[in-house]
């Protein structure tokens, strides 16, 4: 059992060590993120509760959300406006930037449900 846990831990660590933002250019993303900060916060931790926190969110989920706003698959007039100003490259970069921000408030539910 101990050994099983150890190998599980190693696998998990290895998965975490793989940079989640291998693809994007964080610096270029930072430059593109200036208009976003008004709502999503300078640190990506939107203080106004109506806006989602982006800091530390998975980069590929952020990309997916931005593409969906752009195509209209996800319907929100505000974000549709911003997403259409972004090229595919911008989407990858800006997602990499927000995912890389330190001081995230977001967490997976691991250990946080009844019975854990």
């Amino acid at each position: 059992m101990k050994r099983f846990h150890a190998s599980l831990l190693i696998t998990t660590l290895a998965a975490c060590a793989t940079p989640a933002f291998a693809k994007g250019d964080i610096e270029a993303g930072k430059a593109k993120s200036v208009p976003c900060q008004a709502c999503h916060g300078a640190d990506g931790n939107a203080a106004d509760p109506q806006y989602p926190r982006l800091a530390g969110q998975y980069h590929d989920y952020l990309e997916r959300a931005l593409r969906e706003y752009k195509t209209g698959e996800r319907k929100n007039p505000i974000m549709a406006g911003f997403a259409t100003t972004l090229s595919e490259e911008d989407i990858v970069n800006v997602s990499a930037y927000f995912a890389s921000l330190p001081g995230t408030k977001l967490t997976d539910l691991h250990d946080k449900v009844q019975g854990d």
């Binding site: 998965a15 109506q50 530390g56 996800r74």
Partner: protein, 136 residues
Amino acid sequence: MRAVAGDGGWPLYSTGLTPEKFNQRRTGTKMTRAPLFAAALLITSLPCFAADKGDAAAGKTKVYTCAGCHGIPGWKNPYPNYHVPRIGGQNYDYLVTALNEYKKGERSHPTMRAQGESLSEQDIRDIATYLSSLTP
């Protein structure tokens, strides 16, 4: 005043008791009717003061089914392949909006739409209250 059985939910979540436990306790302590009635009035009137927010303790039990996908760090949605988003510590108002968007079909993800449809307004408030209270 909120109808006790209005949304089909268990109105005494705030006591942390299941219906079974509440009844056990009720019969066990031989409470007279009057204080019980007063307590019931107090409990059912509480949501009127906290108009928006739900009950974090109730939310904690209701997110049990969510953890299968949102619980595991690095867990991925299969097709298309991307990470299931982190929802703990997200802002309360946004969580309520997001769950309602799935419910109304404004967001397309099929499994999350099914999740949204299965939740009452009270469930959504309870879950959002609990999730927004979490820290990494």
